[in-house]
């Protein structure tokens, strides 16, 4: 049958372009033996459920963010540790090397075969009223984070009040002041309209989450070696395309928010934030003791 693909983003998004490229190349280069379709805009469910759907073979392939994926694969959850990657190029370097292969093993354990690591940029803090220079600027402030314990702990360590909240409610909450700030990458900061309500963006880059183009592992294993190699090749190409598109999209979003009067700063003293993260790492290691070597490898691969 035609492979069913899941995508949370609207059709014009970089991830969507990457997926459409994959589907197009797949049909062409397998001489029409393999075909795939993409259902954009999350019409086939939200991410945590879509992960289950691909695992059980209801859907065949998808692009998943490592944030929600981390809830079921501890290897992948390492990328959700705050400040684990120095910057986006470091993340690419790590994921394209042997560490990426170890993460792939983690994904295989949960029934997913990764074909390419996509980019979702770096997430940084934005606030309604002020720029964030040091951790003390976060003290006492209500920040919305995604529903992952690591993110809640991160804000707590910085002295803030972590407020998990559905993404759709964030705009209004920022506008009315239910929360003081939130965190996201440039394209989401722009497309969600959050920049209209929170005009101070501080480039903390505390979370750099990879995404992966995955296919159901049983389906992958059922293919011939030739077809598997083809999939890996197209997956890599799709990832390259998506990373380029992402970089372009980031520039567009950044230009747009700047033009609307948003203030952006680079954070000078990132170390001040990183030092406070030790308890978050310790707690993660206490829960997942066998992940210690991989964390070290992620760090070492960036030096």
């Amino acid at each position: 049958r035609e492979w069913r693909g899941w995508n949370v983003h609207p059709p014009e998004y970089p991830v969507s372009t990457g997926m459409e490229y994959f589907a197009e190349q797949l049909k062409e280069r397998s001489n029409g033996e393999l075909t795939a379709k993409v259902f954009h805009s999350g019409v086939l469910g939200d991410q945590p459920d879509a992960i289950e759907q691909v695992r059980e073979g209801a859907l065949d392939w998808a692009v998943f963010n490592f944030g929600p994926l981390g809830a079921i694969a501890p290897e992948v959850n390492i990328t959700s540790l705050p400040f684990i990657f120095k910057d986006v190029p470091s993340m690419h370097k790590v994921m394209d090397g042997p560490v990426g292969e170890e993460m792939a093993d983690g994904l295989r354990k949960i029934g997913l075969e990764p074909l390419g690591y996509f980019d979702s940029g770096a997430r940084s803090f934005y606030h309604r009223e002020k720029l964030i220079h040091s951790p003390s600027d976060i003290t006492g402030q209500k920040f919305r984070v995604m529903g992952n314990e690591l993110y809640v702990d991160m804000i707590a360590q910085l002295g803030g009040n972590a407020t998990p909240m559905p993404y759709a409610d964030v705009f209004q909450a920022l506008q009315t002041g239910v929360i003081d700030g939130a965190e996201n990458n440039y394209p989401s900061y722009e497309s969600s309209g959050h920049y209209e309500a929170a005009k101070f963006y501080s480039n903390s880059q505390h979370l750099i989450l990879p995404e992966c183009l995955c296919i159901n592992k049983d389906l992958f294993d059922s293919l011939s070696a030739e077809q598997q190699a083809l999939l890996k090749e197209i997956g890599r190409e799709a990832a390259e395309l998506q990373r380029d598109e992402w970089a372009k999209r980031e520039e567009v979003s950044k230009a747009k928010v700047l033009a609307s009067g948003v203030e952006i700063i680079e954070i000078e003293d990132k170390a001040a934030f990183q030092q406070l993260m030790q308890p978050v790492y310790d707690k993660f290691l206490a829960d997942n003791p066998d992940m210690a070597p991989l964390i070290e490898k992620v760090k070492a691969a960036q030096d």
Partner: protein, 172 residues
């Protein structure tokens, strides 16, 4: 015998409704605690959202089952009721049988979902993800049982269950 089973069913339906009502009432102070935590303690409780959603599932599937017994679900009855009584009876019987099958399927699939996700905790909550599928498992069982009882009662010619404790249409 079937009359006896029906009485057990009535008790079961009351239990479903009771649990649903308690779950609904529990939601209110929890949301209040969320506001209190954010402003007074300056530390938002992170368990409220996930717990509320589990309780919402309890309300929904508790009521879905109980209302199957009392036949209070929103439905379009006028078409069926415009048919002569024998035809109408057949239509009602088919509905009960199909719903019994649907409820059983729901319970089975949700059992599988419960087992598959039991080992993993709900994010920000230290209880198994599988708990979220328990209300569907139990509710599906209830729907199956109550529909089967309706169908059996029709077969042996017992009168229809009168809606219990229904005081007017639900608010839509």
């Amino acid at each position: 015998m079937i009359a006896f089973i029906d009485r057990i069913g009535a008790l079961l339906a009351r239990a479903f409704l009771f649990v649903a009502a308690v779950a609904l009432f529990a939601l209110v102070p929890m949301a209040g605690w969320l506001v209190f935590g954010r402003y007074v303690l300056n530390r938002s409780p992170t368990w409220v959202e996930a717990t509320s959603l589990v309780l919402m599932l309890v309300v929904t599937f508790g009521v879905a089952a109980a209302a199957t017994r009392s036949e209070e679900h929103l439905s379009i009855a006028f078409v069926r009721e415009s048919f002569p009584p024998p035809v109408e009876r057949v239509m009602r019987f088919v509905c009960h049988v199909v719903l019994a099958g649907f409820g059983a399927w729901m319970a089975l699939a949700s059992y599988e979902n419960t087992v598959n996700t039991w080992s993993r905790p709900i994010p920000l909550l230290q209880i198994p993800e599988g708990v979220r599928h328990l209300p569907l498992l139990v509710g599906g069982f209830g729907i199956a049982v109550f529909s089967a009882i309706h169908a059996l009662k029709m077969l042996v010619g017992l009168p229809r269950t009168t809606p219990s404790g229904s005081d007017g249409d639900p608010a839509v």
